[in-house]
Symmetry: C2
Subunit: 180 residues, 2 copies
């Protein structure tokens, strides 16, 4: 699934601009689907070219036109087909884990810093999800509630694992002992 398809999905919730969608990518979708303006704007243009969305230009003073996109019937049909994949992937790409694989080559201080940073990241995300939950989750479709809960559960599991197992990494230094 690409940025185009996710944008299309977001538009099923109502008309929005690229700028609006970016906020979704930062909040709700942030923990599992990243996208910057450099992907979103071209995606929306392409969707409009293919008739999957319509675009209304709203002029503004001193700013570029606000472009509000709305999904079309063809867009909905396209989305529904895209959602038919019975085995959508769930991929992790972790420089963190790759780094930890080589912890025995690193000084303890560095390992500690990396682990602390990961826990900070967990804290950041769980706070973010709590904020979202507190504000506007009641009127969400059940799928988005499921997904928010999923994120929360995974982050909690990550935090727990790191806290309970960091001793495996940092108890020893990177210099090999001579006791072999």
């Amino acid at each position: 699934m690409d940025v185009k398809t996710v944008c299309l999905g977001m538009l099923t919730d109502g008309a929005a601009s690229g700028y609006d969608l970016k906020k979704n990518f930062e909040s709700t979708f942030g923990h599992f689907f990243a996208a910057g303006f450099g992907s979103i704007y071209p995606a929306l243009s392409s969707l409009a070219d293919n008739g999957l969305v319509t675009c209304e230009h709203i002029p503004q003073d001193g700013k570029p036109d606000r472009k509000v996109y709305e999904i079309t019937a063809e867009g909905t049909a396209f989305l529904l087909e895209a959602l038919q994949d019975p085995a959508p992937c769930h991929k992790v790409r972790s420089d963190f884990l790759a780094t930890m694989c080589f912890a025995h080559l690193m000084p303890s201080k560095q390992i500690e810093a990396v682990l602390d940073n990961r826990l900070e990241d967990c804290a950041y995300y769980s706070e973010m999800i709590s904020d979202i939950e507190a504000n506007r989750m009641d009127d969400w479709p059940p799928g988005q509630q499921f997904v928010a809960g999923f994120g929360k559960a995974m982050i909690a599991a990550m935090k727990k694992y790191v806290e309970e197992n960091r001793h495996l990494l940092s108890e020893q230094t990177h210099i090999k002992s001579a006791t072999g």
Copy 2:
């Protein structure tokens, strides 16, 4: 961190061919860092060009030369520097979660199929990690044991969450009720 750097890291464990490294990418590193031959072979060539690894050509009958790569002192220095990032990222890219966000647009049967598939994927990975644990984990560096445990914990958390919360998605049909 790119494929090059991870290959370099793997070579700290001993000399190996591209084919050998691929097996690592499929087993130990599979759940958090994917790479195919199309990335691995060019990565190793590039590392050799830059003097970070040496390459020994071992002729074979009826097969291409087996090329065994070994890390150099410069390679080790390069790796150690790459490992100094105090905030290595941990990214999830999930078509599964993106799909579930739009579950209210899907028929129940489809949702069930997607959830079942995810649980199968969990089963596949946890079995794989168990196999790895059973065979050759004792002599691993602590970092790789930490990472294997991490994968196991995350997959267990995923399985648990999906099993306990799938009812949120599949109890209702995709057709909006007229009770609003």
